[in-house]
Symmetry: C2
Subunit: 226 residues, 2 copies
């Protein structure tokens, strides 16, 4: 009977790696990176903290699993019938939006280099780069450049979302930053001050894609020399 009661409390489902990762994602989304705690997780799953260690080795492994789950779900974009350029944009935007929705993955992607979540993105980018007609010797460089740019933006955006709280308005953030830039030392930060105004009415996604296009242009410029 006691066992029956416990089952009921946790909705009949027994503890499993899947349920743990799912709960971790929920915790990370609602409470941020600092919110993921074995104690909080245990409470959500109606167990003790020790139970989680039966299914998961580490907090690091748990974070990786959570990140992987989110990234994998965005990598399903259908790219059939699109040009390689369009496919790259779609892929990149998928990662961008995923980080926007789950800022914590941005931070973790940057620290978990060639493990599965990142590798997945690399693979799909690479296929499109190959479709672009890039010679074998340049494939790695081209795919890496795209990947690293995407991860770089992701890290920055994750930090933005973290630093200003999840409720903060994008335009509000941009205005704040823009104001701060305009107050910088005119000599030491001449360039930054000059572009501060452009920041104010900015679409992050558009800007992100403009960077992707810049790299794509660089890649294809090599293919058809003037």
């Amino acid at each position: 009977m006691v066992t029956g009661e416990r089952r009921a409390r946790r909705r009949g489902e027994p503890l499993s790696r899947e349920r743990i990762v799912e709960a971790a994602i929920g915790l990370l989304d609602s409470a941020g990176e600092g919110g993921l705690t074995f104690r909080a997780l245990a409470e959500r799953l109606v167990t003790g903290p020790g139970a989680i260690y039966w299914h998961v080795t580490d907090k690091d492994e748990l974070l990786s699993a959570a990140t992987d789950a989110v990234v994998a779900s965005t990598m399903t974009t259908d790219t059939a019938g699109a040009t390689p350029q369009e496919a790259v944009r779609a892929l990149a935007l998928g990662v961008f939006d995923a980080i926007d929705a789950h800022p914590w993955i941005g931070t973790h992607l940057a620290r978990d280099p060639w493990r599965s979540p990142v590798l997945r993105v690399f693979e799909h980018l690479g296929r499109q780069v190959r479709a672009l007609g890039v010679p074998d010797t340049d494939l790695f460089t081209a795919a890496s450049a795209l990947l690293n740019y995407i991860l770089g933006v992701g890290g920055q955006n994750a930090a933005d979302g973290r630093g200003y709280g999840p409720d903060a308005n994008r335009t509000e953030i941009l205005t704040t930053v823009s104001d701060a830039w305009e107050a910088l030392d005119p000599e030491e930060y001449a360039f930054t001050r000059a572009v501060a105004g452009q920041l104010r009415d900015h679409d992050d996604r558009v800007e992100f894609l403009a960077g992707i296009d810049l790299i794509l242009t660089g890649i294809t410029a090599r293919l058809n020399p003037a």
Copy 2:
């Protein structure tokens, strides 16, 4: 006399923000990100942990200050007489090498977006982009693309250095990763497997610069359309 003894113990210098940051950098370099502890720092400075809080608000602020100090020192590269392209390469390489020497800044740069360390790099990149002749409306995009790529690579490299320990050989790491890639599922990771061989004899710095050149090509291709 007691005061005199204490002074002697800490080499006569009183506690100061500067000394704290300096000690923090030393701790981070020798013991990694996990090694920076207020207790360990206090021991190094021959005080109690509370004393540090008089000069520094936060652990986060301390990390920022440490990162800033390291980045600022690399931003002094003399770019006079160089072409903008050369200057961008020199700047980028400066950041790359700094992260190689202090892997912990890679992680922190990625999470500290528009604060001073990153802004410094952005400013200097921007000046060179402007020197390239990029029109005002595209300045921000071009400088951002370069910056984000650099930060992306930095984050990955920092993670590499962290995951494999500071003593690990670069070529050893590459061999390990390359082997792992070749063992991947042939269908799911067709592209990654195909380029795994290229990874084996790879120069990280050369590869990094190749990515920079790709973006530079993209930037200048816009200037002189075919």
